[in-house]
Symmetry: C2
Subunit: 251 residues, 2 copies
Amino acid sequence: MHTGHLPFKIAIMIGESSALEREDVAILRGAALFSDVSNEVVEPFLAKASVRLLQNREILFRPQHTAEFIFIVLRGKIQVYRGETAGKHAVLSVFLPGSAVALEAGLAQGIYGMTAEAVGMCRLLEIPAQAFRTALANGGALSSSVVRVLTQNLDEAFQQLERIQLKPTSQRLADFLLSLVNERNGSAELVLPYEKALIANYLGMEPESLSRALKDLQDLGVTNRGRRVHIADVSRLKAFSLTLPANNRAA
Amino acid sequence: MHTGHLPFKIAIMIGESSALEREDVAILRGAALFSDVSNEVVEPFLAKASVRLLQNREILFRPQHTAEFIFIVLRGKIQVYRGETAGKHAVLSVFLPGSAVALEAGLAQGIYGMTAEAVGMCRLLEIPAQAFRTALANGGALSSSVVRVLTQNLDEAFQQLERIQLKPTSQRLADFLLSLVNERNGSAELVLPYEKALIANYLGMEPESLSRALKDLQDLGVTNRGRRVHIADVSRLKAFSLTLPANNRAA
DNA sequence: CGCCTGTTTGACCATTGTCAAGGTGGGTGG
DNA sequence: CCACCCACCTTGACAATGGTCAAACAGGCG
């Protein structure tokens, strides 16, 4: 489907705070937002993009700020959350390299509705939303990529809602672990993608509860050491994640 | 922004189970998915659409079914939920006339990931997903409408996640009531858009909890009789909805 | 070697789910 | 036209999941 390689020549030549590196280009090539999109479409707004670096915990944007940029994660992780007013917040998603941050807000030509914060050191591509919208309006495969990415985000949000509303903590964690694994049965090994406190918040529970849930899963053959997790029997864990809390009434 | 009136001539002449009525056409004109979209783009797939009627509680589609159609609600309501395996389910959204159901699934060319069920008698426009995708690929303003609608859906899902993770039942209800009201301050009157049990599920709580939450809000000047709700002071309710549960630790 | 951050554990408590029973209102049939 | 019925909603008593607070523990990096 790719229309050949994507050199991103122009972008490499610009870049305000810093230029695109070889590794960055590889990430951009793999980015879901740009798959199936030809160079002619991407280059115009990449030329206006720049690279931005963030320290751990640095804020990328806050609610009510006008949405001037769309970002692509090149290195590190970005957590996006809502409700910071309350002292507590709800993590809505964590973006890994290759993902687009604030796509909706940038497209809507409005303001950001959430907070984005760096998890560890981050390297981002900062694309002016205006330039991106122009490219989108000019047609081409970009709009279908945008639609695909939005659809994925929506699916993930719905999966989250189901998990949080329907599953107790242990099953919620089981479900999450399974989403990190490719195997359908047998054993599996995985590394948690970020620190447990962040996972806990993403799963809508406190770190203490995550810790206890992890302990509960030991009975089902899930062992862990640090962030390294071993699942003895994937299908067994899957069955457990679909389990109902003991006594429940039919809806 | 409208490119003139949308006659939908062809569609009126077809329709399998039933033809489009005058009222249906009015709904379609107001549908977010078709705003800014010219007749030439809409008519080809409307010509392939048909009208479908559902009884109360009738299932429109189930998870794993191949996503052959996208629907527009013409009359009645459609609730979409996940997790029916569990006996319990989580209502993700309730679609009112003018809304598009299963847009993501139809676009993704895959399978439905949730269950859609009629709430009361329903009248729907059933658009073959294939025809819709063709129209989308042919460019035009349709893709920007699709992007806008997906963005709105995503925003709503995120708002839901915040509500459910961060707010206790009473504040959650307050937040929901405020979303049904236009006033920013002073008093307001509203009618709950669907039965309380459905609202409760949408808000991630049991009907009993909704009932008690409603009672709690009486102290804040929220009175109700049946589905009719009166809010004495909108700004006061707004302030309450942002309140934190008494003792909370800083995140 | 020791700090600092992240994680675990334990004890306690609050919110909300659960179960059971009673109320209310609108619509239908006698 | 009234009475009944049924679905929807409310109320009460109770239980339990998960949050809260406090403290100990581990592990990586200076």
